[in-house]
Amino acid sequence: MSEEKQLTEKESLELIASMISKAKNSYIDSGVGPLYWGILITFCSLMSYAEYSLHFSIGFDIWLLAFFALIPQIYYAIRSKKQKKFTAHEESIMNFVWSTFAICMFLLSFYNGVAHPAHPTALYMMVYGIPTFITGGIRKFKPMIIGGIVCWICSLTSLYISFPNTLLLMTVSSTFAWLIPGIILRRRYLKLKHV
């Protein structure tokens, strides 16, 4: 690209549109985060459901996996940040939204441990929906908007369903909120990477 070339007004507008589009297309979510958490939470919910309904124990709380899963997630986030050559406008907002979610989940597990509420899964699913819906809205990514809404519907429904069947609703929530969007994002990422 040369600095000297004199542009017509039309060429200038075309150049602006093309560069804005290049910047926009540079930000492609690899889908690793939602896929990773989607698989993990779906697995934990199903395992927990199996333990309660089939009356067996694996010897430890399966939900501890969600805490340990933060370690590779943090490592991946640091590595991605180092490799990144630009920062998108919405990234800092996303970081705040998902950090808020992580903190709320941590506090909620404490709250459930101490207060023993009647419908703990309803609270979890309500919180699951918040960052998912916001992310979908900001990134204009419909599957996550739908995922967020599904979490809230499941949260409400769980008030009328007995435990451990509510755990199946957790499976539905995590599948719609993260697993399906994660698969869509991953497929899109791999397709664009090979173009």
Binding site: M1, S2, E3, K22, A23, K85, S92
Partner: protein
């Protein structure tokens, strides 16, 4: 009365750099070079001109022992860019009329 097109922005490479930076919070020099398809020398000169005009901030630092240059559009740069786009639209509308 037509607004005059900003001569700082009315050049292919400088306009490309500004258009790219308006879409992101900040970007590394290598990213801009790759997206604008320019040479390091030419880009360096144009980035300096944009910096002197106060349209962008250039941050030089070290990352993993390698020098890293990051560019970021300034509020003044955003204003100038918006004014430039408005002026362009004025010219194009006049051409249609």
């Amino acid at each position: 009365m037509f607004k005059e097109l900003d001569p700082i922005l009315h050049s292919q490479l400088r306009l490309a750099v500004m258009s790219l930076l308006i879409g992101v919070k900040e970007a590394e020099f290598t990213f801009i070079r790759e997206k604008t398809n320019s040479t390091a020398g030419n880009l360096s000169v144009q980035v300096q001109k944009l910096k002197e005009a106060g349209y962008i901030d250039v941050i030089k630092q070290f990352k993993d022992n390698y020098p890293q240059t990051t560019c970021k559009i300034t509020p003044h740069g955003i204003e100038a860019f918006e004014a430039y786009v408005q002026a362009l639209q004025q010219y194009l509308q006049a051409g249609k009329g």
